[in-house]
């Protein structure tokens, strides 16, 4: 197998240039590449276009990159819960493109799978449809949507082997598998890096072919956005 291991987050992101188009996995703060976000912050790369379902919160996740003004444009489905984000958006410092969540997921999937366009009913009749081709199939109206691809995709997995095979955990899977396949260069950070052969081939969520760099992250905070508990056991 091919060895994709790099030493750390700094090494993994070192050649990401200003104005790069990035995909970042995660839903809310769940399954986000914490180590790489911190390395991008440290590196100070600017003018980024970030494709990510959410934009983090003020002091965590992509919110950190917004605060340091490293993001030029967000392509997301839901971007609330972030005061600095709102300020930059209203002042015109930040561009935002909002995409229905399923369309975003499918556009990333299409990017990885070599499908330049497809039809979806989501957004027909809404402002999302503006400028898009509409076509009817079996009596229902659909919009044509295009693939999304990235210069660099940055994903977070639970376990990964040195050849880049990944396994996610729980709902931290979310956008990570599609984004892993849609990057020209894909960087995976994992909670546990294991030797080749340690993962069951039948239960790999992202085959290593999609991954160019992998490293074991450290100090995962895994912050919870809405801690909600029940009293009874």
């Amino acid at each position: 197998m091919i060895n994709k291991v790099v030493a750390n987050a700094e090494g993994a992101v070192k050649d990401i240039p200003d104005n790069a188009v990035l995909m970042l996995g995660g839903f809310g703060l769940c399954g986000i590449p914490e180590n790489c976000i911190n390395a991008l912050l440290k590196k100070g790369v600017k003018g980024l276009t970030c494709i990510s379902n959410n934009a983090g919160v003020d002091d965590f996740g992509i919110g950190l990159l917004l605060k340091s003004r490293q993001v030029k444009k967000m392509i997301s489905s839901y971007v609330g819960e972030n005061a600095e984000f709102e300020r930059q958006l209203l002042s015109g410092e930040l561009e935002v493109e909002l995409i229905p969540q399923g369309t975003l997921a499918e556009r990333c999937r299409a990017g990885g799978a070599g499908i330049p366009a497809f039809f979806t009913p989501a957004g027909y009749g809404t402002e999302v449809a503006e400028g898009k081709e509409v076509r009817e199939f079996d009596g229902k109206k659909y919009l044509m949507e295009h693939w999304l691809r990235a210069d660099f995709s940055i994903v977070k997995a639970w376990k990964g082997d040195t050849s880049g095979n990944l396994v996610y955990r729980g709902t931290a899977r979310n956008f990570n598998p599609m984004m892993a396949a849609a990057g020209k260069i894909t960087i995976a950070e994992v909670e546990e890096l294991v030797p080749v052969g340690a993962l069951d081939p039948n239960n790999i969520h992202t085959p290593g072919i999609y991954i160019q760099r992998i490293f074991q992250g450290k100090n995962y905070e895994k912050r919870i956005e809405q801690k909600t508990v029940s009293k009874s056991a």
Binding site: F27, Y78, P121, G170, R173, N174, K227, S230
Partner: protein
């Protein structure tokens, strides 16, 4: 008049055995608490889970296990986890039997507006547009009127649309109504203590009232 819990309870009566259900944020989330235990249903979370369980107890919170509202959750036995692409494939492909969500406005044609208020901060549509464009059956949980008394059941939506001709049933604080395509809002049940006249006054869109309208029973 129904409070939020009343609306949730009444919607729970619509749930049938064997359904796969997607619950939106807010009142729809509450519906889960009132589904009879005798029914076998599965709750979908569009961020990648079939089989949402109750909120975890204090010691069992798992940051890798959240619902679409970003709340910590648990899984029922027999759950499955998957990617967002698979999840919306499920939704788009019509595999989810029932979608319950909130709305700011619904039109008599079944159009729904629930994602954007011009002039206010735009947070995004999340999965709402995908859900309303593809769901086999949509029930909306909402207040019949805004705080200043304006009807939210309209001839035409005034707010930006989330989806066209998709809402099938509405449960408000005042009434239960079906959306009959090409006809209007058909009044099915009154909330306790609410008269047909009050519902008429609170409904801007065309309201169909046929025969005696019973009160909601719990």
């Amino acid at each position: 008049m129904l409070d939020k819990i009343g609306i949730a309870k009444r919607i729970a009566q619509e749930v049938q055995d064997g359904m796969y259900i997607n619950l939106g944020i807010g009142i729809p989330t509450l519906v889960a608490n009132y589904i009879p235990k005798s029914l076998n249903v599965v709750l979908q979370s569009e961020n990648g889970l079939l089989g949402i369980g109750p909120f975890p107890t204090e010691g069992h919170v798992d940051p890798d296990l959240i619902n679409a509202g970003k709340q910590t959750i648990t899984m029922m036995p027999g759950s499955s986890l998957f990617s967002s692409a698979e999840s919306f494939g499920m939704i788009r492909g019509g595999h989810v039997d029932l979608t319950i969500l909130g709305a700011m406005e619904v039109s008599e044609a079944g159009d729904i507006a629930n994602w954007k208020v011009p002039g206010k901060m735009v947070k995004g549509m999340g999965g709402a547009m995908d859900l309303v464009a593809s769901a086999k059956h949509i029930i909306v949980a909402m207040q019949h009127c805004s705080k200043d008394g304006a009807s939210k059941l309209l001839k035409k939506c005034t707010l930006p649309i989330t989806g066209l001709k998709c809402v099938k049933k509405i449960v408000t604080d005042l009434a239960v109504l079906d959306v009959v395509p090409g006809v209007g809002f058909k009044l099915l049940e009154r909330a306790p203590g609410i008269s047909v006249d009050e519902i008429k006054k609170a409904t801007e869109g065309k309201l169909i009232v046929e025969g005696e309208i019973p009160e909601i029973k719990f």
